[in-house]
């Protein structure tokens, strides 16, 4: 059974993974992070949850009459892929998995598939 720390380790085992973080969407706080990467985790966590919130907001306005439920969100930069995946839990949240992937060494389809299976192990 996955705990929060083991979940981050599991996410980091995805081929091409550079950084992983678990975020609490309500408060914008980093819950668990993979090793020291030199990133300011507190600030990036707050900003990334804000990104997800703004995206939800934009999508809600773009598709009127629909309840928006995000499965995952992908941003590709010139250096890599960034994946955000909100997880529904019984408790507050959602809990969000953030993963940064190397552009050259990663397989996006595989990474998304692995993230999906990890999230199904983390929640009931």
């Amino acid at each position: 059974m996955l705990g929060l720390d083991t979940c981050v380790a599991e996410v980091m085992s995805i081929p091409g993974a550079l950084d992983a973080m678990l975020l609490d969407h309500t408060s914008g706080m980093a819950v668990a992070v993979s090793g020291a990467s030199g990133a300011d985790t507190a600030r990036s966590a707050a900003a990334l949850t804000e990104t997800l919130r703004a995206t939800t907001d934009g999508l809600a306005r773009a598709c009127p009459g629909e309840v928006v439920r995000i499965d995952d969100m992908l941003v590709t930069t010139d250096k890599g892929h960034h994946l955000l995946r909100p997880l529904e839990t019984v408790f507050d949240g959602p809990l969000v998995i953030y993963l940064r992937l190397d552009l050259e060494r990663s397989n996006l389809a595989l990474a998304r598939h692995r993230l999906r299976s990890i999230s199904s192990q983390l929640t009931t």
Binding site: L4, D24, S27, G28, R53, R61, P64, V90, F91, L122
Partner: protein, 277 residues
């Protein structure tokens, strides 16, 4: 008199294990100097969250608590370890947010005591204090007036526009608001953290979706004893959302703080405390 922060920092330095009881407000459980669990009378507990969402019945939970504890809860498969850790994390941060500022309620430390949900996640005291300050800043940035935190939540009956987007928590708040329940009472009903409901209520206030507080009910005598000669607080001139046509013009620069009522009360408190010590 030592503040709660200082007291906790001391217990952390001594690597104490046990429970710090704060009168009726709540209890902080420590293990080896780190906080493992916090109970706060004002915010929903993990048990409350499990039952409010229909995940477990109260009798089943009491049975677990008496026999088997966490390991049996996980073995029965109602929640995964990750979910339980996340729940404990959320509940402790939420309790800390409301407990840490209270402080002066004759804290009493009982060594050796443990909570049945302790040991899921460990918090260092400095980190808790830092996170609480961050949350307070977030609330203030959303909507500066703390009035809406304690008053009954009263959504406006008519939307001041054509359409609005609500987040999940905002939706739950609007649906459950019966014009009597305060944000923290709603939090217990919905089974969400007090902070997330406070944040949603302040967002609603900022969007102009809450009715202006009813001055008659706000200071009703039923739950607050009449304070006699205490001066009445003047309504903030900009307590209405900025786009409300009746709102006063926003002053340039940050809002002026230092309400004379607050200052007078603080002076009297300081004098009373000095006389006590």
């Amino acid at each position: 008199m030592a503040t709660l922060d200082a007291l906790l920092a001391g217990l952390a330095r001594e690597r104490s294990t046990g429970a710090l009881r704060l009168g009726r407000n709540g209890t902080i459980f420590l293990s080896d100097g780190r906080v493992t669990y916090m109970e706060c009378a004002q915010t929903p507990s993990v048990e409350r969250m499990l039952t409010a969402r229909g995940r477990m019945t109260e009798t089943a939970l009491r049975g677990l608590q008496a026999d088997g504890g966490c390991e049996r809860l996980l073995a029965e498969g109602a929640v995964t370890r990750g979910e339980l850790q996340y729940a404990v994390l959320g509940v402790v941060l939420d309790a800390a947010f409301f407990l840490l500022p209270t402080g002066g309620t004759r804290p009493k430390f009982r060594p050796g005591e443990r909570h049945w949900l302790g040991g899921q996640w460990y918090f260092d005291v400095a980190g808790l204090v830092r996170e609480c300050a961050r949350r307070r800043a977030c609330l203030a940035a959303t909507w500066p007036s703390a009035d809406v935190d304690t008053l009954p939540v009263r959504p406006v009956l008519w939307l001041p526009g054509h359409a609005v987007t609500l987040t999940r928590v905002q939706w739950e708040v609007v649906v459950r608001a019966d014009h009597k329940a305060t944000p923290l009472e709603l939090a217990k009903q919905i089974g969400r953290s007090g902070y997330s409901v406070l944040l949603a209520v302040r967002q609603l206030a900022a969007a102009g979706l809450l009715a202006a507080p009813d001055p008659g009910r706000a200071t009703s005598a039923e739950n607050q004893p009449e304070a006699g000669p205490l001066p009445k607080r003047a309504r903030h001139p900009y307590a209405r959302p900025p786009h409300d046509p009746e709102a006063a013009a926003q002053p340039l620069g940050p809002p002026v703080t230092g309400d004379p009522t607050d200052l007078a009360l603080l002076m009297r408190l300081k004098k009373a405390l000095e006389e006590l010590s």
